[in-house]
Amino acid sequence: MEGDIAAMGQYIGAGLACFGIAGAGVGVGNVAGNFLSGALRNPAAAGENTAFFFIGIAFAEALGIFAFLVALLLMFAV
């Protein structure tokens, strides 16, 4: 066994930070699923609302990327 407690904490923390990405996955899936169910009910209105779909995905995935950023910071910057 090598290393020290601080390095172990970094690795465990970086791994735990990845749970945040699961939340982003749920969020993006929710946006996409709801958009699709709405679009299939009323295909005529789907085209002009695609922008809202992408904006929703962007806001949901940003939080997952924050979690990824925390993992990167723990691995390479701390």
Binding site: A51, F54, I55, A58, F59, F68, L72, F76
Partner: protein, 253 residues
């Protein structure tokens, strides 16, 4: 990425997935703030490629467009329509700025997919410059057009009670100032993560011998996804710029 990762060991990954993001000076060894690096080079290539599409594509101005003219016209029309849909007539004045941002990010993302190339948008320094630039521009436009009335953006006058308005004021204020952070980190994170994943699979491929066909298949699939992500991230950055610009042009709720 100030410190390198752990040293490569025999049997481990033979490509470190973060090595591709290292900035190297083009000439000589030392790095100063003015040193031309591979980042500078690829940003120049990005600008050159975007200029080539728009200048060479629209030179002929044929009635029946050639392929490059079609690509240039469709890109122009796509962004033009996006700006007018999101910000209305008032935003059309700022179309050149938004078009520039879109072309720069699109070409930086797509050129970064060339093997052994360098991805400027996977660096927080580049995306933060773009994000802070958008933030300052939009805030300045809001104050110039509306003066102190721009602060209506933070005061939700439809809220039923005064206490609620005060609470909402702080929430709106925080969400306004977190914008440049999320705006730039989204692009940087998506690009850096995608490139790192491809390199992680490339490291597996080097270590596996004949079974390397599996990670190589995964790389091909990831590469297709990365191409999609490169275009979608450019689109998202641009449409969020339009949304923020719309808030500055039409504050209030």
């Amino acid at each position: 990425m100030a410190t390198a990762g752990p040293e490569t060991e025999p049997g481990g990954l033979n490509i470190h997935p973060m090595d591709q993001f290292l900035l190297q000076p083009l000439f000589g060894e030392e790095l100063h703030w003015f040193t031309p690096t591979n980042g500078t080079l690829w940003m120049l290539l990005t600008v050159a490629a975007a200029s080539l599409l728009m200048v060479a594509g629209t030179r002929g101005r044929a009635l029946v467009p050639s392929r490059s003219q079609s690509a240039a016209e469709m890109t122009y029309g796509f962004i033009r329509k996006m700006v007018e849909d999101v910000t209305g007539r008032a935003g059309a004045k700022y179309f050149p700025y938004i078009m520039t941002i879109f072309l720069f990010i699109l070409f930086a993302n797509v050129l970064a997919l060339i093997p052994t190339s360098f991805s400027p948008t996977s660096h927080i320094a580049v995306t933060a410059t773009l994000g802070i630039g958008v933030f300052l521009t939009v805030t300045a436009i809001g104050f110039i057009r509306h003066g102190i009335g721009f602060l209506r953006l933070f005061w939700v006058s439809e809220a039923p009670t005064l206490a609620l308005r005060v609470v909402l004021f702080f929430i709106e204020l925080i969400s306004y100032f977190i914008r440049p952070v999320s705006h730039s980190v989204r692009l940087f994170g998506a690009m850096a993560a995608g490139h790192a994943v491809v390199k992680v699979f490339a490291g597996f491929a080097g270590a596996l011998g004949l079974a390397a066909i599996l990670p190589i298949g995964a790389i091909v699939a990831m590469y297709a996804l990365e191409l999609l992500v490169a275009v979608i991230q450019a689109y998202i950055f641009t449409i969020l710029t339009c949304v923020y610009l719309n808030d500055a042009l039409h504050p209030g709720h």
